[in-house]
Symmetry: C2
Subunit: 315 residues, 2 copies
Amino acid sequence: MDTDVSMQMNRLGRERSSDRPVLMAIAGDSGTGKTTLTDGLVKALGRERITSIGVDDYHRYDREERKSLPFTPLNPKCNYIDIMEQDLQHLALKQPILKPIYDHDTGTLGRPEYIEPREFVIVEGLLPLFTKLSRACFDVTVYLDPPEEIRIGWKLGRDTKKRGYTEEQVREELGRREPESEEFIRPQRSYADIVVRFSHIEERGESPSDPLSATLLLRPTINHPDLSSILSEGTRQAMHLKLSRDSDGKPVDAVHIHSYAETAITKKVELGIWDELGTEEPLPESLGMIDGVRDEPLALTQLILLYHLIQAREA
Amino acid sequence: MDTDVSMQMNRLGRERSSDRPVLMAIAGDSGTGKTTLTDGLVKALGRERITSIGVDDYHRYDREERKSLPFTPLNPKCNYIDIMEQDLQHLALKQPILKPIYDHDTGTLGRPEYIEPREFVIVEGLLPLFTKLSRACFDVTVYLDPPEEIRIGWKLGRDTKKRGYTEEQVREELGRREPESEEFIRPQRSYADIVVRFSHIEERGESPSDPLSATLLLRPTINHPDLSSILSEGTRQAMHLKLSRDSDGKPVDAVHIHSYAETAITKKVELGIWDELGTEEPLPESLGMIDGVRDEPLALTQLILLYHLIQAREA
């Protein structure tokens, strides 16, 4: 039985027939930059080729109902995980879904939305990698893992500016969520093909006012671009690769992307990665934009995700 | 390919493994008595054993949006037929669904509802039998086919008393709907295992003020109770069976259920049908209630549907 289910699940994602969409998960806690990362990929490919959905719409309760409940939205019990699994399977099989909608402004659940998968589907949210069946639907899985102090800064900025909360409210909510973050959100990190960490590199003496560098852990669970042939001493300033061990001791490639690199060198790395795809499409110019400014580590991170989307499509 | 799909579809419904729910469709135009028929079955079995859903909730547009569209809710284009098909398959496989909700009072689409199938699922609405895949999900299919003047009377009564329309508005809407009723609703009659017609029997000189008799066409597509062994000259007053041809010339059993029969004789027929089930459960007392009064033809019709639900469950 177990073998059958597992075989069936593998079939859903990895052994994709060519007309099925490519599904990418972008998982991570609240305020880790899922939307920023997703938006750049959608802009690069265009809305006619890529669908993005947020699985936090699968909330089981509205804000009012949650007040009397002993868990936060991070808890699987607070979400229709079974319906999310069904819908991910439908999308992976190129079928439409009627996705529920949670309105973050009003905290209410409303009229669902009809969604047809395009060539590419990005599924971002708190729990897209929570179950074995949900994970099996994806061609590429990403987990966002910024240091906690950076995440809190990002979340404070967004929730006070865009969602009308006070700083005190956000901090109180973060405290309330921490046990469930530990129990349900962070374990998803171990299921990601790529772990993305935007942070300052302390060994280089970077300070909180400097732009963020990025570290990508590339797990040997999918085929990554052959960075060893792209990178050289001359590109080391922009990106370098290091064979490493993950926190659980498993081998992993760690790619460091430096914010301080010269644009010309970053560009050379980008073109090298893009060339490896062997695609006719030009390298999108729109990557890495955040609040109207281009951020090179974000651009390179998005480029690597884009590489995987296109590669999976052509596989 | 065609054979594979068809085999798969047959498997969904008819070759049901014993822990899967029994699905019954009750299809028919607006005002044909679907809710009355369904309510009696739900009451007889109890809400802990039976789930009923209305597939008119799969409306694609709300009332406001429909005003500028060239079709009525009877048109498949006005409904998420593909999502209905998905959800019927989920229910047939004992999986939960997140069903959309259309509010008939306000004409709006709202927060969807989480539904888990119980032992029995009744799916009533305008178009549950519209596609081959939807039909394949059912163990038993029923079509309600009252004469048009009776349907119009029922619809006028309900829509003016319970939905706040004027008689003129209802008649205008009926005219607008007629072409789509002919094109999309009535063809479903040919896919039903049982066609139910509540009407006056003109040959007996019944007038509009008399209670309605019922005619059930029992198609040889499922195993009906062996009425020939239950019915006799002595029960003829309550029910009789006649080998007949349907309007398309195909052979069918026509069961006539008379409203004027004595209660004792009707009861004898009921017990005969129930005995054939060989079930431990007692014959439900609650059948046939309409506006607080028991209607014998309705009770016998519900009993035959109940027979099929329980038989399919034990098959």
